[in-house]
């Protein structure tokens, strides 16, 4: 008569495994079409975030630079890097680079970069982590964007936590 509970136990274990596998699949690392080197641009070349993420201080979205922005410097290859060759090819073809978004907020959230950067005076690193130090594309966001994270920061800085401030 012990088959019953054993079966139950087996099922439970199976469910656990399935869930685990599923979660690991969901959390697959993000691969970028070009192995962009943030460190090279920021630390070595001394660029500012807003040099490429043009609207980080003025816009709702900071924007991920694409060929038009990159072409300012990379219209012709400056090094013999393979990755840069890829970029130059993109620029030459005029095709947009299919960058993958790392940080995003859901549709029901109103997030404005300007509100946080230019007006709130928050450093990019606060929410984006040490992106400037990454020498190759980061597979996962440094800082996980969660509502609790937003709310904690709002609490600490004495900003209102009224839901209507961010939820639209």
């Amino acid at each position: 008569m012990s088959s019953g509970p054993v079966r139950v136990a087996l099922l439970g274990v199976l469910l656990l495994i399935v869930t685990g596998v599923a979660f690991s699949l969901l959390d697959r690392p993000i691969e970028q079409p070009i192995a962009f080197n943030h460190r090279l641009h920021v630390e070595d070349l001394g660029s500012d975030c807003t040099d490429c993420h043009l609207y980080a201080m003025t816009g709702v979205r900071a924007t991920i630079p694409n060929v038009e922005v990159c072409a300012d410097c990379h219209a012709e290859a400056q090094t013999d890097s393979e990755e840069e060759a890829l970029l130059v090819a993109y620029i030459a073809s005029g095709e947009p680079i299919p960058w993958r978004k790392l940080y995003w907020v859901p549709d029901h959230v109103y997030f404005s970069h300007r509100r946080h950067t230019a007006i709130g005076g928050i450093e990019c690193e606060t929410c984006h982590g040490p992106m400037g130090e990454a020498s190759e594309p980061v597979p996962r966001p440094f800082v996980k964007v969660t509502m609790n994270g937003c709310m904690e920061c709002h609490e600490q800085t004495g900003t209102s936590n009224d839901c209507l401030l961010c939820h639209k």
Binding site: V21, A22, L26, Y55, G59, V60, R61, T63, W104, D107
Partner: protein, 824 residues
Amino acid sequence: MIVPRREFLKMLGVATGTLGLGGCDRDWLVPDRLVELAQRGPGLESQVPTICGLCESGCGLTVRLVDGLPVGLKGNPHHPLNRGGLCPVGQAGLEVLYAPNRLRAPQRRGAGGELEPVSWEDALAEVGGLLGKMRSEGQGSRVALLTDEPGRLFHDLAARFAQAVGSPNISSTKSQGLLPFTLTQGIAQVPGFDLDKADLVMSFGLELFEDGPAPLHAISAMVGSRQTEERAAHIYAGTRLSAGSSRAEVYVPIEPGTHGALALGVAHVLVREGNYDRDFVAEHTFGFEDWIDDQGRERLGFRRLLLERYYPDRIARICGCDAATVVRVARRLGEAAAPLAVVGGEGSQGSNATWTGVAVHSLNALLGVFDRPGGVSLPPPIPLTPLADPETSSLEQAESIFAPGGSVGAFGVDAVEKLAERVIDGTYPIDLLIVVSSNPVYSSPAGQRLSQAMEQIQSVVVLTPFLDETSAHADLVLPTHVFLESWQGTTTPAAVAFSTLGLGKPVIEPLFDTRHPGDVLLELGRAAGGPAGAALPWVSYPDYLKERMEGLVISGEGSVVTGSFEESWVHFLEERGWRFLEHRSLENFWAALERESGWWNPVPARGDWARLFRTPSGRFEFFSQTLERHLRDVGGMTADVEMSEEEALERGIAAMGSQVDGDEVLLPHFEPPIASGAGELQLLPFRPITARGHLAAVSPMVAEMFGYPFLDGWQTWAEIGTDTAHDLDLADGDLVAVESDRGSIEAVVRVHPAAVPRTVHVPVGLGHVQPGGVADGIGSNPIEIVEPIRDNLSGVLSTTSSRVSLRLLRRRPHGGPAPMDGGH
């Protein structure tokens, strides 16, 4: 069952990962819209002014662009017409732009009757070739053009085009209701009514705030631009109480078609009580008192006619209202500082529309409101560059198909009916019909005849952004831009007291392979070649617009609209003369126009009576000498024999078929309306604000709020009074067939407690049958079952003269009473 991707993943969430979807991207976690928005850019906003092209008003718009894509519309607060307001149809502008059913490329009707795509080049070459051939063979008059594209600028270009191809046949499908003003003032335009300064407007059948040439202007002028508690009052006389008229100080419910009688009753009281402007009447009117003509005959004066024939008791009998109400309304008008009487809507759609118009306009004369603030005047002319005459001398000037004439002595014609009849009976052959931005098959009572005629015409070209009833009969359908994609030039709508010129610039690249109708006409002219091309020298429509606007710069009149509309500012300028050369060059002016989207001139020329009254007497004519002369001519033409003027006049009157006699015919009088059909109710189609323009049916939002005063949508309703509903044993929500002798349509009964008994009001706007919009096959079109009866004086077909009966099809499917049906 289609499962949306995101939903599916959300629902099955974890399980999907293991079920072989391991290959899917993490990107599915990011909602589609965010991906789209991110691709748009940083979310930078701009506001660009332009002009609404959805109806004839041409209100000013401000388009909200985010990263260059239009995402919102609002009224332009600087624009003098709407001053920031925007009607529901205007709000739907973006839905019209992004509508899923837009025409994407030119289409030609193939042998099998199906529309097939064709390139612009081929399409234009084909029509252009045909035009060139016809012109060179002297067959230009076989071309006809119908256009409702708003604004005089386009109309001038179309007229030039017609001229260039040698055709005298160009018309709008809309009747302007000019005749009352021609008869009384001798002008061929609707004068301006200064709603901005009027303090009491009495409307005969015109739903001021919903219908008419510029309802948003009426709202902003009478209410919106005024301080709290200072709005202009209005009185409404008609058969139906619309949402806008429910704010009327007095609602005078009257029998259909008796607006003119009421106006005369009011005039009677004004005259009897001496409550009229004696100075104005003495100095600037003709035919008020009895008079002796050249031949020494004593002629009837308006005063005597009023006092003898239009006493309130009789009016009350005719109109089915209370004599006391007539007196009350008249006294209220007499007391008002700046009263106005206007006519329109059902008042100008009856078989007696012209006489109603004359009677109502006579009130303005009695009240002496001409040429003064808050009164009737002519809007200052817009000093557009005149178009030089093209070299058309080589062409024989044929008579236009739209020329009045024939058996009855009408002043004008119903363009659609005339075209249809003459094509069908073969008296005026047309080989090429070009229809621009117009859907006469749907909107005209003669639409069905027109569709028959179109089958006989060799080539029908329709320029439209959407497939519609008219393009269903076209051989070639040329897709046009919607207004947000194109340049537009609009001019003052009728009845506005000031002049405006709107310049709309495109706010977005055309989404599809479409063109502006103006560009199409220019290209057709070029394709026709020879003098036709030479007569249309402009490369593109904006080129043409620019050239026309040079006149504004040279004249230096008016101003580009800037800053918010300020009453005191206008007053200031008015006192000092509105004339300062703010723009010295065309480029400069054009740039300013582009930036602000409009020009206006609010200063009418005061004291120019000769311009205001261009009648034989140079005065406002109660006794219309223009009509007398016309009827005499008509009478004279009926027989070859020589006859006396008197005899000719009598014959003319007989030909016109008036129901009164003697001099009364030539004075403002009441002609009983003619109604046809066996039903017990009079059908009065009306245009709700949600049916403005002919593109409304393509907006899901407009369709969904179509019957918003009844909290209803997507339905054509038949509005009847509480008593009528009771008599017919109908309740709110019942589905009925509205049956006339010509056909039957389905509608849902809506009971309105204030509708006049024995009338049924059905809105136009739904009931489209072509797959151009979201509301196709939904609702019905009352115009389909209208028995067309002609106003013998203007030649225009009446839409309110049909008698119908209601037949119950289905009881209200569920639930209790609607709020207006006497809910507990």
